[in-house]
Symmetry: C2
Amino acid sequence: MNRKTNKIRIVKLMLVSISMLIFISCSNTDNLILIKEQGSFAVGGTMKSNPGTFDAIKRTPEGQTFHGDHAYVFYQIPNEAHKYPLVMWHGIGQFSKTWETTPDGREGFQNLFLRKKYSVYLLDQPRRGNAARSMEEGTITPTPDEQFWFNTFRVGEWPDFFPGVQFSQDKETLNQYFRQMVPNVGPIDINLNVDAVSALFDKIGEGILVTHSHSGGMGWLTAIKNQNIKAVVSYEPGSGFVFPMSEIPAPMESSAGPLHPVEVSMEDFMELTKIPIIIYYGDYIPEKPDSNPGTDGWRVRLEMAKLWRDVVNKYGGDVTVVHLPEIGIKGNTHFPMSDLNNKQVADVLSAWLQEKGLNK
Amino acid sequence: MNRKTNKIRIVKLMLVSISMLIFISCSNTDNLILIKEQGSFAVGGTMKSNPGTFDAIKRTPEGQTFHGDHAYVFYQIPNEAHKYPLVMWHGIGQFSKTWETTPDGREGFQNLFLRKKYSVYLLDQPRRGNAARSMEEGTITPTPDEQFWFNTFRVGEWPDFFPGVQFSQDKETLNQYFRQMVPNVGPIDINLNVDAVSALFDKIGEGILVTHSHSGGMGWLTAIKNQNIKAVVSYEPGSGFVFPMSEIPAPMESSAGPLHPVEVSMEDFMELTKIPIIIYYGDYIPEKPDSNPGTDGWRVRLEMAKLWRDVVNKYGGDVTVVHLPEIGIKGNTHFPMSDLNNKQVADVLSAWLQEKGLNK
């Protein structure tokens, strides 16, 4: 065999060996979440002080303070993160758990979007969960109401699950689902909540707000207030569609009661024409009035969302409303972010973020 | 130049190039936390059901349920984790934040021990924080009491910080520190809390319990109950030292009131002789009775801890009490896990875990 063939053979052997060495020596980071930074903090809030001087021996109320009404935030920044973090805001009766492990034990949006290299900020709004240090007194009564929520969350019509529902029917799932609720400590104060989330965006800079249900309406108000919110993603907004006086529709009646729009100034409204907005609704929303309040309330919410979209877009906005069954994604409840097909739901969002250039 | 020198030169060049290639192509994972798994869940708890059948239209109380009194847990498992996870249990008025980012913005025990390759489970006990879904009613009143806590946590004697205290004196630190408190929703129920944390160890298997302050006493009871607890680390236990009747000391008087021991059966007590236990106390604990209740209460706690150590060890146990200033670590408050020198405090714990073979 000639020298040239031998040299080529040696070089090939070295290249193969070295490739294997690289493969083995690099940490196999497949499937790991690489966290560059993580932590938690309180943001926003107010304080009050009692008059007088604190007595260290008697420890009476004089001269003592109370700091409360802040939001609590846990954040994670993955390695090589996209520029805009996702700030996820829970809905009524919920806390950050909405976005965490699903009731049936799979990864939630927190992990799914960390894997997509988004920084993820999960917040508990003032007077809820880990931010329960309320400046207002509150009495909390453990009132059995889980079947009300089961129906309102469109998991089914108790005790039946909807056919094809994207929700696991094993007993432990419902156990976890019911336990991911926490009470309000003190009254829900919309302005307070908006201020706290706005303070969060003041602190962290530009990002994308992701809301759910009750935080939908509060999300519009926060985006009006804070220019650092570069887009809003709203899952199943439950109220608080904002209109200027000239465009405000009548309340819409449903078996769950009337849905009222909210009036804002034209100047404020125009803020919402400046950023991309997407709204998602799931399945089992009746098209015609239905006697079941659990689902019928959503009929008028989807209807008002579409009306709202049209008005915002008429003024130059960029609002999209996605009714998931209409794009072939069926069986979603009020919680698409934690339903059985939540990976698909996340991918749909991911594609929209990319389409809008929000994944830089 | 001869062929042999050329070949050697080529081989050297290739080796250098390949080394650089390996260096560049491997993700530079220095300083990243590599997470293999993370998530959250509710554990333990009870439920109640109203009699009757749920009416989906009227949505009255009949036939509705309420699940509550569980603990909430957020966990992270790093890549190549040690066998035993650390389960961290907050103290009075606190939630998981005790172990998270410090009030002055540095990494807490959560991150420090993830970096040491321990799985870290942070819990909110029943009726607190994200586990506030209480089965008992509660009224929460925002009572200004932060100076009481400032003193009791041995940060100083309000408004003065202790000289040399391991606590940042900038205004934002105190702001964060006060906001890391959350109320109890409903009465604190020791047995309930012990049951929930025991249920956690039933779920996750063998591990190490890390307690703080009020959870110190509850920690002993949980270790008695659950064989999966292979060791207990207790920072500044505040109460609940357990003794068999034959060994129980008299209550110890202090300016903060009496410290009562707790009686348990000899059979239960003996459980605590079977596992390694370490207790840490910080600085500014008076050696003689002091009129300042904020510090004097800790005098009797440190004293009872040493007495308890001696009794447990007399029966064959392995309890160590470390008074940090006595090992040259000065300036610690009631929160060594989040004080300015918390890395050093963590390293001391890390060394003990290794010494006891708990870092396998």
